[in-house]
Each structure stands twice: as C-alpha cells, then as structure tokens.
Symmetry: D2
Subunit: 343 residues, 4 copies
Amino acid sequence: MIRFDSDYIEGAHESILKRLSETNNEQLPGYGTDHHTETAKAYIRDLCGVDADVHFMVGGTQANMTIIASMLRTHQGVIAPDSGHIAGHETGAIESVGHKVLEIENSDGKINAEQVRSFAEGHWNDPTHEHMPQPKMVYISQPTESGTLYSRQELEDLREICTENNLYLMVDGARLGYALASRDNDTSIRDLASLCDVFYIGGTKVGALFGEAIVITNDNIKPDFRYIMKQKGGLLAKGRLLGIQFEVLFENGLYFEISKHAIEMAHRLAEAFEKKAIEMYAPASTNQIFPILTDTQIDVLQSKYAFHVWEEIDTARKAIRLCTSWSTTSDDVDALISDIEKL
Amino acid sequence: MIRFDSDYIEGAHESILKRLSETNNEQLPGYGTDHHTETAKAYIRDLCGVDADVHFMVGGTQANMTIIASMLRTHQGVIAPDSGHIAGHETGAIESVGHKVLEIENSDGKINAEQVRSFAEGHWNDPTHEHMPQPKMVYISQPTESGTLYSRQELEDLREICTENNLYLMVDGARLGYALASRDNDTSIRDLASLCDVFYIGGTKVGALFGEAIVITNDNIKPDFRYIMKQKGGLLAKGRLLGIQFEVLFENGLYFEISKHAIEMAHRLAEAFEKKAIEMYAPASTNQIFPILTDTQIDVLQSKYAFHVWEEIDTARKAIRLCTSWSTTSDDVDALISDIEKL
Amino acid sequence: MIRFDSDYIEGAHESILKRLSETNNEQLPGYGTDHHTETAKAYIRDLCGVDADVHFMVGGTQANMTIIASMLRTHQGVIAPDSGHIAGHETGAIESVGHKVLEIENSDGKINAEQVRSFAEGHWNDPTHEHMPQPKMVYISQPTESGTLYSRQELEDLREICTENNLYLMVDGARLGYALASRDNDTSIRDLASLCDVFYIGGTKVGALFGEAIVITNDNIKPDFRYIMKQKGGLLAKGRLLGIQFEVLFENGLYFEISKHAIEMAHRLAEAFEKKAIEMYAPASTNQIFPILTDTQIDVLQSKYAFHVWEEIDTARKAIRLCTSWSTTSDDVDALISDIEKL
Amino acid sequence: MIRFDSDYIEGAHESILKRLSETNNEQLPGYGTDHHTETAKAYIRDLCGVDADVHFMVGGTQANMTIIASMLRTHQGVIAPDSGHIAGHETGAIESVGHKVLEIENSDGKINAEQVRSFAEGHWNDPTHEHMPQPKMVYISQPTESGTLYSRQELEDLREICTENNLYLMVDGARLGYALASRDNDTSIRDLASLCDVFYIGGTKVGALFGEAIVITNDNIKPDFRYIMKQKGGLLAKGRLLGIQFEVLFENGLYFEISKHAIEMAHRLAEAFEKKAIEMYAPASTNQIFPILTDTQIDVLQSKYAFHVWEEIDTARKAIRLCTSWSTTSDDVDALISDIEKL
C-alpha cells in the first residue's frame, strides 16, 4: 500500500533526526528556555521581519485552542469558515474553552471580507446583540482545508474589515509551507506577519516530527501567553525538541525546499488527472488535490493506494483527496501516474 | 555547569532515538492507530496483568487534565495533597476544565486514607453539601513530588476508603519508574493496576523524549477517552512517536533498567550527604533527594552544579532538590560527591 | 404605546402577587426546601403522571445551561434547530459550559426525526468521528421560536430516533402553556413527560413574575441536579418565591386558563390579518403571530404599537412578530384590529 | 419554631410588595431597560458618588461568578480568604468558569494587606510562576461570613497593595446593609466605591425578595458586562422586578433603616449572652452573632428556635450562629432573650 492519505504518514526529515541525535546529550533547561529554542525563535522573527513573540507548541488543535483562549473574553466568539478545522475537526476544542465558533459558509474553503463585514454589522446592528456571542476574531487557514489559497488582496481586504470591526485576524498555517511554495501564491510570510494579529507555521505536516511555531505580532495579545500554554497542557517539558526542529527547518531554508518538493509532486499528479480530463473538486494549488472519480475508478486505485474519499458529488462520482508531502518519493508518484493513465 | 536540576535535561535514551530513525520511513496511519502503538499497548497491558485501556499522551499536565475532564461531572472535585502537581504547578489546568482541586494537607507529599475518609464524610454529613463541590476522585502521585513512596498497605487503605465513599483513585506516575526501582518500594505495577481506577506511567522523565502511558482499568470510565484526548489537544498526529518510544521502553525491560540506574546514582549522593551528617527534608527513596544545606554550602555547590532551592527551613538553611535520571553519569555523580565531601 | 412586543411586558397574574403577599411573613427554610415548593412539585408530578424530579429555576437561559451541563460529558454536543434559543440567543451560554450546539436547518422553527437520524448516523459512520463532538442530546422547543408546534406523531418519531441513537430528548417549554392551549395542538403534558428525558414548563411568559419548572423523567440524569443548579448560580435563596408561584399556577388550572386567553387574543389578531389577505411568515398556532407587511404598513402600526420586526422577506416587505399573553386585554386587541382593518 | 437561622426566611419588606403590585400592569420593555431600573441605577450612582456602571442580578453566587468571569483572563485566579463564600459555598462556581480560588487563611473571616502582598510577591518572585495561576484579583466580603468588619484603614491598605501588585479589589456585599449600620463600622458606601474596582449591594438578605446591585467603578472592566450577564443566565427577562425593588430600597433610605433595625435586634441578643458571660466565636458587629454554647444549652434552645450549629469548639462546646434581619420582630427577640437568661 502506497499512502497518499495524509502529509503526516512518515517520521521527520532526516536532518531533523540527525540533529536530535547530535544534541541529545546536551544538558539543557526545560520548558523552552534553552538556547536552541532561542535561536529558532530568532530565525522566525527575522523571516517575518517584525518584532513578534514566537512560541512552539506540539500540534494544531492545541495551538488553536491556546491562541483563542488567550485572546477572547468569555462572551466573545470566533468567525470561521464552516469548513475550518476549528469548526469541524477538533471535537469541540474551542467550545470546550468556552467560545462559540461563528460559522460562515465557505467557497472552496475560503470566506471573504464582505461576508465578515456582513456578519459583524449584522451583530452590531441587531438591538439584541447582547444576547449573541460578540464576534471578536476571524480564523482562516492558509492554505485552506480544501487546498486553496487566499490571495494577498483577499488577505488585505480581510485585514481592513477586521480593523474596521475591531476583530483580530488569525491564520492557521498547519500547512503554510505548501502555501508559500505554491505556484499560485502571491503572499509572502512577511505579508502574513504584517496582516495578521497571530498566525502559525506548521511543522508537523512539513518535515518535523511535530510542532507548530506561533507568531504573535499584536502587542496587546502578547502578555502571559506561556501561562496559558502551560494551563492547556501545551508547554513541553523538553521544549528543546521543538526548538531544535525549527532551528533545522529555518537555519538554511529547509522548510521552503521540502515544501517545494511536495508541490512539485502534487503538480505532476494534477497534470496526470488533467490529461485524462478528470475534473477537480477544488483548484489544485497546494499539496492536496481533489480529483472527482467514478466509484469504479476509486475501487481500482484503492487496491494499491491509500487516500481519503472526501465527498459524494453525485450518485456515480466522489471527490477523493490525495496528499503529497516533503516525504513523497518520485517513484511513488510515477507509480500512481501510471495507474491514473490506465483509468 | 553540571545539571542535577531535573530529570528532563537531556533528550532520550539512545535506543529510542535509534528506533525512531529505523522506523522513520515507514508509512503509517496517524493518531495512534499504527502497529507500533498497538504493540506498545499490548506490552503495557501484559505488564499490568489486567484488561486495561491504554492511551499515550505527550505530557503530564495534559494527561491529568484529560483524565480528570473525562471522569468528573461538572459539580465534582478531585481530592489531592496540597503539594500535588495538579494543586500547585499546572497553572490551574484542572480549574480551567471546570473542577475544583480539593486540597488536603500533605505529610512528606502524601495523604492518608483517614484524611480522605474524614473529608468525604465531612462533605456528606454537612446538610448544605449541595453548596460545595462533590468529592468524586482522589489524586495522588507515586512517587510524590517530595520523592517519597506510598506503601502497598497505604494504597490498599486508600482504595478501601475510595470504594466505601464512591471515589475514583488516580495515580500520577510521571516518575513511576523511579518508584518501582526504589529499594523502599513494595508496590508492583500489577498492584497499582489492581488498586487504581486509572494511573499513568511516565516516559518524559524516564528516558523518552516525551510521553505518558495512561492505563484505565475501570470499565465505567473507558468509553470515549479518545474524543476527549482530541478535544484537549492531546491526540498526536504522528501518534507513532509515542507508540515507538513505549515499545522500546517495555519490549525488554529498558524502562526498569534505566530507572534502577537513576536510583543507584541518587543513593550514592544520599550516602555522601549522610556521611557528612547532613539532614534530609524528606526520605530519599527515589531519584529526588532533598538535603538541607546552609546558604554558604548552597553557594559553593551552585558554582558548579544546577539544582533547585526547594524551601526555606530556617533563617540559615534551605532544602535543595537534586535530581538524578536515566541519563545521569557516574562521572557527574563522582564530581558532586567529591564536592559534598569538601562541604 | 400599546405593547405587543413580548409576553413578558407586565408583572404577574394578580393571583400570584396576592399569594406572595399572603405568605410574605411565613418563616421558611431557604433554597427550595419549603412546603410551598414541595406542594408545587407534587402538583406538577401529578399533572405529568410520572415519578419525575421537579426543580424550579428563575429563567430559560439558566435552565437550558444547567440542564445541558448536567447531562453531557465534555466531548458531547447537543443537536438543535439553527433557530433554537440555545443556538442564537443566549450569548453562547452552552458553549460557555463547554458544549457545541450542533445546528440543523429548521423548517418553521422545527427539525424532524429524519434530520436527526441523518446527523447521528453521519457522525457514527465517519471514521474520524472522534475528531468531532459526539451528538448526545436533541434540544427542541414546544412551541418553537416561530410559534409553531410539533405534533404528537413528530415527537414520537423524534423519541424513537433518539432512543435508537442513544440521544437524550429535551424540550424547552418556555412558552409551553401557549402550545398546550393551541387549537392546533394534539400533545398533552403527559405525552411530553413520557416522550422526553427532560423538559420545562415556562412560567416567566405565562403569568409568573419569573420561573421555569424543570421536569426530569429519566432516572439516569436525576442525581445531583441541585449541586449543578447551585454551581450555575440558579439555586434561589428564597426558593419559596418559585414554589409559591407554581403552586398558584397549578393548584386550580390557572396556568391553562390564562394560556387559553392569550391564544384567543392571538387568534382574533390572526383573523383580522386573514380578512385583509395578509400573508403569514409561519402558521399562527400559538401566541406569536408573524404577518408579512409592507414598510408603509409597518410604519403606520409602529406609531401606536410596539412589536418586533422579525425578518426581511423582500425589498418591500418584512415579517413582524406580535405577541399576546395572559395579560393582553381585549381593549388592546380591539384597537389593533381596528387599525389592521384600516391598513 | 422561631427562626434565627438566616436572614432570608421571610419574603420582602411590605413596601416592596406594595410597589410591585402598584406597577404590575405597567407595560415595560424587558432585560433591565425599563425606567424603574434606570431610576434605581441613578439612586445608587448618586449614593456612591462616582460614575459607576450599575447592574442588577438575582443572587450572590450568580453575581460572583459573572463578575469574576468578566474580569479575569483564563490563566488568572482570585485571592480570597479560605472562609470566603466563593471558596467554600458555591459548589465550585468560580472553578466552573475556569478560575482557581487562591485561598489565604482567614482571621475572623478577614485577610490583610500583608498576606496579599506576600502571596503576590511569592508568585512573581517564583521563577516558575508561569506554572501557577496568576493572582489578578482580591475578593473579600463586607461584612465577612463571620459577621466581622474591615475597617476603613484595612480597606485602604488592601487597595494600596492591590494597586502595587496590579490586582483588582472586589467586595462581596451580600449583607452590606448590616455592615453600614453596624456601630463598629467606619467605612461609608462612598469609601467602598472609591476603594474597590467592583462591589455589590445585597438586597436578598436586606429586605428585597431577591437581588444584588453590582457597582463597577473601574472603567477598564465596564465594557460588555451585560453580554456576560446574559451568558451566565443572569439577565432577568422582567428586569423591572430588580429595578423596582432597588428603587424602593434607595429612594428614601429604606435600605439603611431596615438594616439598622436588624443590628439593634442583634445587639440586644449579644447583650443577653454577654450578661450570662457566654463567650463569642467572633466579634458581634453585625446581624450575625456566634455565641459558644454547651451541648445542653444548644439542645434547650433548639426546642424553640431554628439556628445553625457553626463549628465545634471543644468536646463540650460549639459555636452557633444566630441571624437577625429586617424582618426580625422585637417579640421574637424578647422570647429568645428570656430563654437565654434561663440557660
């Protein structure tokens, strides 16, 4: 079985494992106060071009929950696309820390500034708005859960609406590397840092064993973040493990290099489907591609490849999701292309 | 600087790093559904001698919060020694999931059955008990935060009182290896499994990069634990990392072997203090020892060694904490002994 | 200004005020342990024909939050129509106690058994269901926020689906009296008691100063409810105030009598609109009616009457909501009818 | 049975019931937006001599929970005496909204500035303070649960320490009337308003059917309080009921007059015990007195009077609590004095 079902099917990039071994016997203080962590933070601050606070956490649900718990008062909610990870795939983590996810209908995984404006104005214009959660934050993902991208213009529009409506803007970048490496992308990490109040750079799906780098640029929400990391179970005792991994990923551009590889692999697969005139469920901008196949075609591919059946399109066809990653090999892609051609 | 300040100052036992490398390119499903995780669970179930549910989480605060959130209804609280980790060192994690920690005064880090009985009866006999959190669970640590041990008899007494008062018994085993390896210990892991409703076997402080193995033996509290792990941000995407580590620790007794080493190192330090007739703050049963030193003695040692100043004893003296671990070398212990002798 | 904007614009039925005065100097124990409260509970148990636990709380949001916090584990959510009070008008009270409201699209304020079945099966059939809140409860209102009614058959169907899918069924009866008095109603309070796990009988909107009578029929969820009432700030010190009010409402059928009056008043208004061939937004079964008016018509009526503008229908027309209640006078209805005729 | 067991054993002062009847048929908007509520707020603002936000809630637990949830971020805790109402008698309401109550040992129900300073400095000086809840607020009661009073000087000292340590100061005034009327009191309501960030004036125990008037003087914590009242189930639909009651209490000084009566009744009882040389558990400054009696004496009094047995003093004696209130009659006090004389 060749797996294209997710971008976390293997361990870590070998450079990371190598460095973890090399540094294993260093005796270091805990909870992210070691020099590797400091160095990694400096790399990321430099990359972002702003005086941000950087924190490392183990996973995405943990990061989302901690960021949101840190930023909102009890009566405030977070606007998100109904396809957003916090809306549907975190077992109510946001609600479990007391906040409503205010869902807006997505288009290809995205929401736009006009929708946010309308929601916020709808709240404030309602004379009974005190009877509803107050929208205080917008959560989006780059790339989205559908593998699509926000353009720089779309992000600027969202920023403007957020500022006008006193909303924070947060970007979940669990797969950020794959956005940055996409041929369709026009938003740099510096753009993100200047447009968001907080975002994170995903490691788990981009070559690390685990880890997300949270970048807080808004001074108002910087204080006391480490208290809340600890409270939510997210302050790793051997914080060095996160520091070392992000040090490796960002000291010489490894993060960007391996992201680019994944995008190339995905691009080759997308081309193969295109040659067969197979329709896509969403634009294939990043490392996730969503071809629409017949049940027979799905059966054929499932005999050799692991992937997710994403959504029923009509009685005869379903969208599937194929994921490439930093670890995808050309051989595996060649094999799959050859089988696509035979469909 | 030679560090004796904690048992998580180095990475992991080399066997663990080696296995992580060897298995790095295996393509495996996520969230702990891989075969390494299954194998590790089987080892632990076998060791415990009961048909337990086993789950792996990254850290102790996360494990405590998730277990307690899973077991208690909203109006119920957890009895704990006032020195317990959940009482003082988790930034209110338990309160953040809605439950009061009902603190009982500790003696050398421990509470006894009589105290629990008295607390529980005090609750139920109070005609206004509905105005107080209902005690539903007892949380203790083995070994305790003071490095002491519950005897088998003490645990049996606690179990009996818990059963009589409809209380769950939970044991935080963040340093469990060091309890099991102690010369003063008379409680096996099978004893624990038969006496508790839930406990966990700490990896972070006993040779793993990170990880705690939660063992749930009470059938009533088994259902749906994975939902709650996910909700609390504790279901690791690459769950294999936990499975592989515990596989290595338990396939050939490595966990017990490296625990024993730490205990020997601590024992040698304790003997050195004893020879100098230096008093201990608490019995030196495990890998944490708490000699009481003068400020001058502390200054001398701090020039070469890292350790925690634990508590002021009187105007001239303080208890310090020295930690050994699986990674403590004989050379470092020799160096410290030589300096102890010169105090 | 004559107010038709809600059913809580006046104080209480005069019988209630009279009884509060008569009993004012009785010296009684607090927190709902007095004899009036016991008597009121007995009346309600008798009315329901089951051995239910009855509790009185001050308001609806408080009742909803307390009931749901009492019944669900941390990872469980409550299915509700997207028009439900807990979904949109309680400032995230349910999320603030940790649970996601799982919204289903309403038709005239209602959801049906097939929708619930589909949602529940969708959850359990999804291989990643542990990554989503577990549906454990269905919340509906009788009458609904749109003034419509569930038929007995619809409730039986929901009960059946709930039982099949291990879901609790809860009915918010903030306006229950107006449902029971409706000409379109075929569900008795005994039916409700036998079909739900928990429901409540609203007093605030049906003649009381305040108060909701919670009826718990499922033995599994009876224990410890008073603890949770206290924790959520809902155990009234002078609990007698609730007991006395419900004693008055149920000792001689006052609750049903004044509900019937409100329905008659609403019916007369509905007929007046019908005569003018004015369309309704939802069937006018209870004390809330939703005529669709032009902006000009709205302006005319707003000069003399208070009511809510409910929803924009098209560029020229909006639905408004008119509420009658136990306190609506024939004179006020006559005045409004006369003005409707002139529209 | 003559009841001295609490100050909420009767309904309301007759002036309140009378006014509720007189205003019963007024048609008013809901949720505290009516003119009576506005008038009551103006009376209280005037009394306090500051531009405060005033809100009315039904009960004390609800008020405490709502105020604290409104003011603290998730990682912050509230310092309170271990005898404080939030520490022991609200079924963990504060923990249920996520915050730890940081208990300090009380003396006669009070804590002092030095204790608070020591606690706060202990937190900030601990290098691991991020692993503990951050103290952000001090909660005290005036009068205390033991019926004692803070002097103006003590409150000024607490204010100073709070300001120095960036802590809010909150005063629970569930029985505030009885403090203000005490012969031992030197703190006016204007003093309180200038020294606290928030406090409340209790109505439930001082002549109202129910109700607490929350006074927020710190501009930083004023925004959005009504959202949180709604979320916590504390925004009364017929808010007029609170407004009207506080209007009556404060339009002509009724609140102070009836408080004074209760104090006189308590003073007469205290004198009777004094004449018999019966020791007091705590100074008898307010409407709660705590004589220490033998078991035989308790048995004798219990045959005719209801009161609480408060605490065991030694094997032969217990402190009891007797409460007077606005509703205590001279006849009942005479009867009890006569029986005290016979002890």
